[in-house]
Symmetry: C2
Subunit: 331 residues, 2 copies
């Protein structure tokens, strides 16, 4: 029996092996992805992001435990930006294991970023798809930090949680502004800490700035889910949910918000739209890679090196060089 | 007289216009870049990055003032992750202006990230090249946050400064680990704050973890600049420099470290290596873009849409779809 069939039969060892293939971007991993592709497309993908110190990991743990009580199978992909030498990813796994190990309905996979952040996004997308095909109803993707990786998650996930916490300093506001745009739900974790009102107030005023149409909602008093044709994502105003992840306060309410958002996506047509956007972005990545590799086969290396030498000497600009090598117009 | 000639003659208005063209990725901007390309390649590109709250911007201001005293022309590209609606970039410009305005030897350009972070990296690279061609000896590129943007800067810059500050919380360590790998010089700013020894100690122990060869250096007692053939970047151990940017403490010493690093790059051959790596990565970007645009011209949109429909329905995986569309092997 091959690995893919084993995965579809619920074999955890086979699953772990394929995930490793995907992390290392091997031929076997690519083949497995293609075979699993028709089986995916059912899971609810939940991105969880926020600055270090917000307690994201324990929040993800608590959510996982809660979803397990609802008898849903849960997978977690934890993307850890610690560099290889700190072993952050491995440590993270061990800490999590205390709460969640021994449960066959849960699977946790950590990834260190290593060198290539682009490759990481691709690997995360691949793993998500494997979990999806393997029948995990919930796939949570957790990242630390702020930047391109968060934007990539937002593209990948149906529902993106941005986690904040009181007392991380006013300067963190700069990050919040950028990250707010990808948030479907805002979580104020560590809500027992002093300053929670200020954090919430700051988030609210930023939401008002970014969602000037909010008055529509207060007027209607509920989400406009009555209009199934409406596909404008702006019609969802991210709710703010307080949690205390160490004791589980607010977790049921947060899970409820997540369910409401999933329903909103389905009713508005955004679920399908996000699905399509994800597939298009995957297409683009594979297309670029394929075209470049066909180019490399077509153009002799000596010819390429010769042109590069002129670029190094600055007698040819990169755009002129590409124009020469592709025998065409470089825009 | 065209814009490019005006720029080479030191016309600031022409410079500002071309920068706007490059930010908007217009045909004129691309043409200007190609014409300016042979004139670039002389500036020392300095990346400055670190978490919010470390005082990066005032550090960059102080460094700029210091370089001006050495009669060097200085350009600053400040990449601001604030979203468009906060107007962060504009505000940033105004705050800076108080110290640096009215000086013809300095030019500051802020950019908000807007939607596209990939486009931002490309725009930053383009602007850097324009400043370089326009005769600015120092080009500083400043970014906020941690993630892909920092890695892109490191690729762009000859010398990357990573700025830390005491009292930003222990959790910030997670970010530091990843960011340490791109640092050529570590700056502990706000060094008059309590906890500066702890911050420095933490950085030192992380450096020891990431540079296990350090004992070689203590033995020799100086950088191994006597070996001009050596191109291993690992031979540079990032020094740690304390600064207090609000009063300028440590700025001359930091500028000296930057000069030492530039000298190290030249002697070791890394200066040329980083130059080549930058040009190769620019080539790759233009090549991908060109190949995709040629593909779009070649493949009828109706054909593409038809295949995409099968991908949406999950009857074709993205890799199989690309294989069909390119009539070739998709790896």
């Amino acid at each position: 029996m091959d690995l893919v069939t084993q995965i579809l039969n619920g074999d955890r060892l086979a699953l772990a092996r394929v995930l490793t293939h995907i992390e290392n971007d091997t031929q076997d991993g690519r083949a497995a992805l293609a075979t699993l592709f028709p089986h995916a497309g059912k899971a609810h993908l939940i991105g969880v992001t926020g600055a270090p110190g917000t307690g994201k990991s324990s929040l993800v743990n608590q959510l996982a435990l809660y979803f397990r009580k609802q008898n849903k199978r849960v997978a977690i992909v934890a993307v850890d930006p610690s560099s290889p030498f700190t072993g952050g990813a491995v440590l993270g796994d061990r800490v999590r294991m205390r709460d969640l190990s021994g449960d066959a309905g849960i699977f946790i996979r950590s990834m260190a970023t290593r060198g290539s952040l682009g490759g990481l996004a691709q690997a995360t997308a691949g793993m998500t798809q494997v979990f999806d095909a393997a029948g995990f109803e919930i796939v949570m993707i957790e990242t630390v930090g702020a930047g391109q990786s968060e934007v990539d998650i937002a593209r990948l996930a149906h529902t993106t949680l941005v986690v904040e916490a009181p007392g991380l300093g006013d300067d963190i506001q700069a990050i919040k502004a950028g990250i707010l745009e990808i948030a479907d739900i805002l979580v104020v974790n560590k809500a027992d800490r002093p300053g929670v009102e200020n954090t919430e107030k700051a988030l609210k005023s930023m939401l008002e700035l970014s969602h000037p149409t909010q008055h529509i909602f207060s007027h209607h008093g509920k989400y406009m889910s009555a209009a199934p044709q409406v596909k404008d994502a702006a019609l969802w105003i991210p709710p703010i949910q307080r949690t205390i992840s160490i004791d589980g306060t607010g977790i049921p309410e947060l899970a409820e918000q997540i369910a409401i958002h999933a329903e909103h996506l389905r009713v508005s047509g955004d679920w399908a739209a996000r699905e399509r956007a994800r597939l298009e972005s995957e297409m683009d990545a594979v297309l670029q890679e394929t075209l470049v590799s066909q180019f490399r086969e077509r153009v002799p290396e000596s010819k390429y090196d010769e042109v590069m030498m002129q670029v190094y000497k600055r007698s040819l600009s990169p755009r002129e060089a590409v124009k020469m090598l592709t025998n065409g117009r470089a825009k």
